[in-house]
Symmetry: C2
Subunit: 362 residues, 2 copies
């Protein structure tokens, strides 16, 4: 299939040709060449800058869900207590994932259209439940909302909770993610969102405390983190690394750092504001409630009452625009404009919003 | 890094430009487009032809080890009995992997330089131990040997053992793999060996019996097979599929089927025979014992006594040839020529063997 003429899906986003080209080459065997290890280390360093952390970054071959599973399975054992702070599909979903591992999960739940804002409730749950891990989502893609990781990180520190797990898959590279300042132990990312690479790789930052727990846990599997701890030093990865995929991730980081992280973040904020203004201007309703923190990478809008999602999607596609629908309880009701990574482009978003306006008013 | 001038590593092999090019394009969102589902189905069908099976094929985003773990974790629970038939690094390794799941593992072990050949011993172990699963490796890459899956499959049938698990990662697309005729329940493959694609995807065939056990087991995770069972029908994959990776795998299958599977297999046999003849002709010693079944995809040779592996490797690299070293107890002692996939090319192998000869005699 051809690339969408006006791609506005909230991931996988349109991949710039410079990143695509990196995959069109042969390299040596990643198992054998020091050059691969150097590329891996250089990519780790770039991701550390983008995530603002001194923590080691692990890069894995597989989609973003691999990072989500890796971090849970490598640190949790049956019976462990997990406090799942949930404001959307992924927030609640991570709690369910921890349950399948046999953990005792307590959920502090909010509406899908809210951000975490009742910190007394969270603090009370932390005190009462004394979890081993707090889980949360930094950017809830299906809801178009952001959660205040800083505030939860401060509570984690205050009460000495061992692990803070943050799904930042659709935030990293488009939001200001401050892993160390926020006290995040496991910060999870993927390539096909703000990094604008294909959906082939995932990565996460791992704190010293998390490494300690990973060693205790001794989890083994494709998604085990432990073998990555000394992989560079030992020049031995647990499976043949995907050189082209790592090279694409490296190139993606390079483009962000070349533009400047602050500029990239500002570009996302500006484009998101524009998208929301235009949406409100054409009479559309934001899905998030007033008071929710709005995402700089994706805007979630209510499907207008006079039009089905199917009809809206078809009409937009006829004009070349492809946006995201939704899942679960939001299916058919909420649609999303993904202005992340390569798609956080004012001219592209303007074009898309002009067409959306004509469709909504047409 | 540039491609090796004369690539002879037993995977990841040199990727033909036609396969590389497929990754240099943007596609739509694999979560949304029927065209992706069609590509997935078409790739499944092509792999069924290459593996000679009517069983459903699951295609996953991740390196070949993902298939190995998937098939174990999705079917086994702690306490299950696993009979690990082992003739090399992977054969013994799979037994260890099953142990980490908590299975009771009995190993019928042979030398690293042998093929499974004592079928009475295997039969006795099957009768005594009555395993839920028999595991084996079709093509032991580090050893350059093949195991007779047909004979083990017949024993499996005779005794009604539920599952036969076969790692055929370095055989599929270069050997005649007969999944149905051999009664294989879980036949595991990867992209970077005989299929000549990058190390990004893995796949496996799953029998009806295996699906039944997968449903009973209820395993959940990135490497869980269950969500793939009805993924096509439900148009819902457990994570965003990697469109470029699937497209490369599809192209790789297409190239094999276009050449003709029988011709591809014959090409591998012919090149392997040539490689062995030349090796013996220059005074090198095959690693496998007489009586072992020799691999058509990789030749394992003893490092000549007068030369260290390091020196051999350096000398070959100076002339543009890169071969594989070895791991574990074979490190430094056995090296390997990977004539699989794109590298099962008579002209290429001839060039490499000429250089090897000059280095060995130089």
């Amino acid at each position: 299939m051809e690339k969408y003429p006006i791609p506005m899906v909230p991931g996988p986003v349109s991949v710039p040709q410079e990143i695509l080209n990196v995959a069109a080459c042969n390299y040596g065997s990643a198992d054998l060449e020091k050059e691969y290890v150097d590329l891996y280390v250089s990519t780790q360093k770039a991701l550390q800058k983008i995530m603002r952390t001194k923590n080691q970054v692990v890069i894995q071959s597989g989609e973003g869900m691999l990072a989500l599973w890796s971090a849970l399975k490598s640190t949790l054992v049956p019976g462990d207590r997990v406090l799942a702070l949930s404001t959307g599909l992924f927030g609640y979903g991570i709690g369910t994932m921890a349950e399948t591992i046999g953990c005792e999960v307590r959920t502090v739940g909010f509406g899908f259209d809210e951000s975490i804002d009742d910190f007394e409730l969270v603090e009370k749950a932390i005190c009462e439940f004394s979890p081993k891990m707090i889980t949360m989502v930094q950017n809830e893609t299906p809801s178009g909302t952001v959660n205040p990781v800083d505030k939860i990180g401060a509570l984690k520190e205050k009460y000495g909770i061992p692990l803070l797990y943050v799904d930042a898959v659709s935030g990293i590279g488009g939001s200001d993610i401050k892993v160390d300042e926020w006290h995040v132990d496991l910060c999870l990312g993927g390539t096909q969102k703000c990094l604008s690479a294909p959906a082939s790789m995932s990565f996460l930052s791992v704190s010293d405390k998390a490494w300690e727990i990973i060693e205790e846990t001794g989890y083994v599997g494709y998604d085990a983190l432990q073998p990555f701890r000394f992989a560079v030093k030992q020049r031995y990865f647990p499976y043949t690394p995907y050189w082209q995929g790592t090279a694409q991730l490296h190139k993606a980081c390079e483009l962000i750092l070349k533009e400047g992280l602050a500029k990239v973040v500002a570009r996302h904020i500006k484009v998101a504001e524009y998208c929301r203004e235009r949406s409100l201007g054409m009479g559309l309703e934001l899905f998030p409630q007033p008071g929710a923190i709005l995402s700089p990478t994706v805007t979630a809008l209510c499907v207008p009452a006079k039009m089905s999602w199917k009809k809206l999607d078809e009409s937009l596609r006829m004009r070349g625009v492809v946006v995201g629908g939704n899942y679960g309880c939001l299916a058919g009701k909420v649609f999303r404009i993904g202005h992340m990574g390569s798609q956080a482009d004012m001219a592209l978003v303007k074009e898309a919003m002009d067409i959306l306006e004509s469709v909504v008013h047409g």
